[in-house]
Symmetry: C2
Subunit: 549 residues, 2 copies
């Protein structure tokens, strides 16, 4: 393991940024391209997130990817006129050389895994922007693209690679580093671009990659024009993307910095207990009653602000709180106010901004599903597990609901539980919950009013419903027990139980490819003292234990 | 790691057995049940496959599972009158306590992983026997069933658990051992039995398990009668299974021992090169021309014998040849003779025995897909990659075909390439190959005659086609290069690239659950000196690194 194998001494990772402060990307809106945004990758070598690895050759670390995620979010909210996105490089002859290897080699196992998860999510957001918002993307590669650089390209809708006799695409992770392309690359090869499996095999083991015409023949890129035709090819494809974009009109919403204050989400960590309590509060005042009012309220609307805060808390949990095993999920406030927001979002669902807000909620809830912490939801009097916030309970591994003889304790459904907030497997959380009795989904959704503990238990929304005498002890013991179990077994178990039913490219990336990568990231052949990742760039050759598993 | 962390000093595992020699199972045909077979698990404590762990409480090791796999195969071929199968225990109060923990704790990582893979395949064969042959199975549990014991039960169609106040079902791996239930358990919970995910979560973390009525309510078992009603419930369910069985009539075919001689399959290992050459030969003489002749030829028919030999070679490769990284796949003999067999099997496909033979081929080819070795197929003059044997090439990670100016070198399609031999993902190997251009599948299948190198390359059946001048060098270099790469990276890469397209419960077990389990099997929290698996049964308590990944 490398120098940072224990990351606990490092300052916490901060996820908020702004184009004005980007160090590695430029978000541009070139005049000559009309409705096109351009993201120029021009990495500053010396400004890695952590010390010790220069970001040579447009390689990236988490800091670079945080900026990319920020840019994609801003394109959705702040730049509604954009109808296509092009990725280019600010460097000569190199588009992007992928994740920085020295960063990987010097990171702890947990950091590597969470880094890969975040970069995967960001690339899936790029694809979701194409599928849901109608902003397609193009990788315009006037130079070589390797590893994560090519993985970024195949997350785009189209790829143009210059045919200059030198520029190649490659996935050199396996041959050079003894690990897998960690950002969905192998899955996208065979599942998205549907590269023939034997060609994908050859491609993924040739460190120098594939160029020009062969890259087109194998399906690795869509076009490989010569140098002089490159710009025209890019322009032609972008014009076509703009032409077919179905992006809806909407008023731009500026995403102001969340700042240090949290209005709706709080995270309290109990370090010795290895637990955290994550509380999401319902709106306090009056929320927008129409799409127009929502545009006016902008990023101060609860639906935007609360879910941005929740997203930030989840990333904080993943990267800055590795010691937390169990997250207790709570809500607070007026359940009716959540339902009112949901009803407005459902009513104006064809509005461009409303759609973006709902998609934001969807992505954040997926991030919750995909967070490797045990999640226990507690439904207590004063909570507001309704509609979009009920999804938080449905994302939990277990739901405890207090069965109180006197105090009102309820959960409620909203139209948003019916399909607007699907999981990565394409099902709603209700559908995923009731795989055994699919007819329950409609029955639960038909519930007009709120459900008390008995009704929620009968409906199958709740795992256990202790009474007020047992409640405190039962919760305490359940949380303590969970926090005492092997965190690795819990991670693998939760990844298996949370995603019953169908699989999608997305679940294949997180469930199959990432699990294999996690395995390999642990193996001495990669990270041992003589492992390929450890020794990359050093004069020594790696030494493998050649036994196949 | 335990005493056997290096298994290389142990005698090779032998996979051939016979009911007369079973040490742990009894295959019985009870008079009072008519068309029912009974498999009684009655493990002999002192007769583990390897020394050092008594098989207490009906726990199992690979030797126990080899007998189970043998029994299931014999039910298909030797006992066509059987229409339902019941599993019982020969021990009091215990059905099966799962995989032996001391065996797991003392095995190498590679052995553990391959043991789990084999047990998974065997349980999938049980399910295939239900789906394809019409022999359903019942777990009749008059005692407690934990871990792999319960995983065997959920591989059955139905489960009856006695409600005696003591007998429980449980998956205690995560709480007790810090690992996952390794034989498909978590996947079958949510995907097959469709247990609600929060109940599955609670169940999988409660070491003592769930009993009686609650086990029925949660969907973990189908019925929990009291002691005095137990036998009647079992009988009623078996009668119903027999009643609805659609098993076709066929003549019994006795599976004689393969013995030491191999007629159709040879395996040559080059230990220093870390390669093996696996050659499958076409029939030599005249093969059965009809279903009737096939029944007469019995286990000497090429279609049965060759694929049994291939299966044995694959298991030998997995368990006894961990040092082999690359398997060169070859065929030899008369291509026309393979096609003749395939045509006969296709013509008489409704015959019970023909169907069993084709299903055997299918299972063996899946075992090939699922073998963690790099597979390179070499198509040379004199080879016989036709129809069912062409599937071997289509299972390979790459196919090299010699482009010879003078010598005839051909591959050929048969009706069996069109659907009788699907992969675990439910697609044929041709469909998996041509995900990008699905219309190619029909086009290739329409090819009447054999395809020479040029035609095969154009059809997309072949990866590379070096000419006779380059052939030897190119193959040598390709194999050497492959054998030099990290075996872990290759395992993860191949698992990702071989299964493009849809996922099934089967691919979820091998791709998602197994990958997570492999990861956990490596973690110090399980197998380190203070890990839970290492310390199981010892006075010391495990010590975990509680950081979540």
């Amino acid at each position: 393991m490398g120098a940072h194998a224990d990351d606990s001494s490092l300052p916490p990772v901060v996820f908020e940024t702004h184009p004005d402060r980007y160090r590695h990307w430029r978000l541009e809106f070139p005049q000559d391209h009309g409705a096109v945004a351009r993201l120029v990758l021009d990495v500053r070598e010396s400004e890695g997130l952590r010390p010790g690895y220069p970001l040579k050759l447009n390689s990236y670390d988490l800091g670079v990817d945080i900026e990319l995620a920020d840019a994609l979010l801003r394109l959705r909210f702040e730049h509604p006129a954009v109808k296509a996105l092009v990725f280019t490089s600010g460097k000569d002859r190199i588009f992007c050389s992928g994740a920085n290897i020295y960063m990987l080699g010097s990171s702890s196992h947990g950091f590597k895994v969470n880094f890969c998860k975040f970069t995967n999510e960001t690339r899936l957001y790029l694809e979701e922007m194409s599928a849901e918002t109608g902003v397609q993307s193009l990788a315009a590669m006037a130079g070589t693209s390797s590893g994560g650089g090519y993985e970024l390209a195949i997350a785009c809708d189209e790829i143009v690679l210059v045919d200059d006799g030198a520029s190649a695409v490659s996935l050199p992770e396996a041959p050079l580093l003894g690990v897998l392309p960690g950002t969905g690359g192998l899955t996208r090869l065979v599942d998205k671009r549907k590269i023939r499996r034997d060609l994908a095999d050859a491609f993924s083991t040739v460190a120098e990659g594939v160029r020009g015409k062969r890259a087109v023949e194998w399906g690795l890129v869509d076009e490989a024009p010569g140098k002089k035709d490159f710009e025209a090819a890019v322009k032609r494809r972008l014009d076509a993307m703009v032409g077919r974009s179905k992006r809806r009109a909407m008023k731009a919403v500026k995403l102001e910095a969340l700042g240090p204050e949290r209005r709706y989400v709080s995270l309290e960590v109990d370090t010795p207990a290895r637990t955290a309590t994550l509380t999401v509060r319902a709106p306090a005042g009056t929320e927008p009653q129409s799409a127009e009012e929502l545009a006016k309220a902008g990023c101060n609307a609860w639906a935007i602000r609360a879910f941005r805060e929740l997203d930030d808390a989840l990333l904080d949990l993943r990267f800055n709180r590795p010691g937390v095993s169990v997250v207790v999920l709570k809500t607070a406030g007026d359940l009716e106010k959540v339902l009112a927001v949901d009803r407005m979002l459902a009513k104006y669902r064809d509005d461009g901004l409303v759609r973006e807000v709902t998609l934001l909620m969807k992505r954040v809830l997926k991030r919750l599903d995909n967070t490797a912490k045990s999640l226990f939801a507690l439904v207590e009097p004063g909570s507001s597990f309704a509609g979009s916030l009920l999804e938080i309970a449905l994302a939990a591994d277990r739901v405890y609901m207090l069965d109180h003889p006197d105090e009102k304790n309820e959960v409620a459904l909203s139209p948003l539980n019916a399909g607007a907030l699907p999981m990565s497997n394409g099902l709603t959380r209700l559908q995923s919950r009731f795989l055994r009795e699919p007819e329950r989904v409609a029955r639960v959704l038909e519930q007009a009013g709120a459900l008390d503990t008995k009704a929620a238990l009968e409906a199958g929304l709740v795992t256990f419903a202790p009474d007020d005498i047992d409640w405190e002890d039962e919760i305490r013991i359940a949380v303590e027990e969970r926090a005492s179990l092997s965190p690795d077994a819990m991670t693998g178990m939760e990844a298996s139980l949370r995603y019953g039913g169908p699989e999608t490219m997305e679940t294949k990336i997180f469930g199959r490819l990432s699990a294999w990568q996690n395995w390999i990231f642990q193996r001495p052949n990669a990270v041992g003292p003589r492992g390929a990742l450890t020794l990359y760039g050093k004069p020594e050759r790696p030494e493998f234990d050649f036994n196949r598993t």
